[in-house]
Amino acid sequence: MNNIALGRYMPLNSIMHRMDPRAKILAMLGMLTAIFIPTGFTGYGIMAVIIVSVVFMSKLKLNFLIRAMKPMMFMLMFLMIINIFVLKTGYVVVDIFGFKIYSDAIFQTLYISIRLMLMIMITTILTATTKPLDLTLGIEDLLAPFKRFKVPAHEIAMMISIALRFIPTLIEETDRIMKAQASRGVDLAEGKFKEKILAILSLIVPLFVSSFQRAEDLADAMEARGYVPQARRTRYKQLKRTWKDNVMLIIVLIIILTMIALAIGI
């Protein structure tokens, strides 16, 4: 669990960590948009430089980001192989015993790969520099204007924050259940298929049953403490925007405009 880099929060103290989550989310969305503007490798070159500097500003290690991209590598290899067989346009890059590999195949794959890598880097910077709960608050505030369109912004945020609160508890409980069933002879390594299914059921069913009970108890406790869904509530945690956040958003806007200019061919 501790080795998963993708999506994980890194408790450091950097400028990026201190930025307002709402600004960061909007900046991320802006940057993702910029990536999809067709500017060729020049544009990507600029973006890459910007993003790498942001990485340094967040005190994240490049190593960490590379690990975040590991899950994708396999897929990109696969893509490369397919493209080599499918794309036969452009000039010939290399000829292996009569089998020709064309430039377009390579460049296409590179193009897509870089785009994906930039996307992953941007989203990883967001999740690595923002505590899950702050992210939730940011999402709640950003969705708030959509309440008039019946988007239950607050309820969504509440569900996410309660889920986050219970993740460690559920992990502990899973551990307990696994040990209890191991004491009854459950061994996930051995056994025929049917036995393995039963073994997995012996872990999942108790977890579900206790989670339902938990949910019921929790709902009772929430109601007893005066929670009324859809009713007006004040909020303890407040987010504060500073001039730095505004500057960041302006920079992102400039980047988008630059990319558009490049694409149009100015």
Binding site: A180, A182, S183, R184, G185, S202, P206, V209
Partner: protein
């Protein structure tokens, strides 16, 4: 067949910033064929200790001898299943481990996992159901239809059906009402007296220790600091004070009376005997 810990240490999450030494050199031999209470403050290492008995945890240092196997730190043991079968471990709030469609199917789960033939497993399971105080009509019911106390008994039956030599229970009476507690502890006494099983009970309840247990093992800060028979343990006033343990009420009262000048034997452990002794003191001065 002995159960012994020799210089056993255990560390959670070794090599990380979260490393935590739960056991620090445990040395103890559990007497076979008795009901032994394992007591100690929360966090003293009791849970970690008992999980070594069926190899759910392997020692970081030292060795654990259980029945015919010895588990040595650093040596990965082969074939843990026999150990799991011979030492039945019941965790706190075991009702949460039920998962099958019917009660009988749930109880059978354990024996089948250990290779017991289905017919034999079913016989054992029905027997176990009876032993915990539920009759055959429960066999086809869903575990979810039962009360908390009944579910717990089904969970315990699930371990009894495995027919282990040793029964280890982690706070088996937590959350039960007085009657439920009593029948639970009586069940364990029966497993010991009638079915000759070695029983280990982790508990905080000194009244239970006095009433149902033969020996007591005290765990403190990852070490076993004492093993004694129950009566000697409760007779040692300074020891109990040192360990910050409240003695059973009958012992407490006997002491208070003794301190106030009454001549009472130290060997008094139940209400009737105490009452008789008091009466002698009070009435005998006529």
């Amino acid at each position: 067949m002995p159960i012994a810990f020799r210089q056993v240490s255990y560390e959670y999450s070794p090599g990380t910033p979260f490393a935590y030494g739960a056991l620090n050199g445990v040395d103890v031999e559990i007497t076979e064929g008795k009901v032994t209470a394992i007591i100690g403050a929360t966090g003293s290492g009791k849970s970690t200790l008992i999980q070594h008995l069926n190899a759910l945890l392997l020692p970081s240092q030292g060795e654990v001898e259980v029945l015919d196997r010895t588990i040595v730190a650093g040596v990965k043991p082969k074939q843990l299943k026999s150990l799991r079968q011979n030492v039945g471990l019941v965790f706190q709030f075991p009702e949460y481990q039920l998962f099958e469609e019917t009660i009988l199917k749930d109880i059978i789960f354990g024996p089948i996992n250990f290779g017991v033939e289905p017919q034999e497993a079913e016989l054992r399971s029905l027997h176990a159901l009876n032993v915990v105080g539920l009759d055959e009509t429960y066999a086809e019911k869903s575990p979810l239809d039962l009360s908390g106390g009944q579910k717990r008994r089904v969970a315990i039956a699930g371990i009894l059906a495995i027919d282990p030599y040793v029964l280890v229970l982690d706070e088996p009476t937590a959350g039960l009402d007085p009657q439920g507690s009593k029948s639970m502890m009586n069940l364990f006494m029966t497993m010991n007296r009638k079915y000759a099983k070695t029983v280990l009970i982790v508990t905080h309840d000194m009244e239970h220790v006095l009433t149902y247990c033969d020996e007591v093992v005290v765990v403190d800060k990852g070490k076993v600091i004492l093993k004694s028979d129950v009566k000697s343990f409760f007779k040692d006033e300074s020891l109990l004070d040192q360990l910050n343990i409240c003695p059973p009420k009958v012992v407490d009262m006997r002491r208070q009376l003794q301190k106030a000048g009454m001549n009472l034997s130290d060997d008094i452990f139940d209400i009737e005997t105490l009452a008789m002794a008091i009466a002698k003191e009070v009435n005998g001065h006529e």
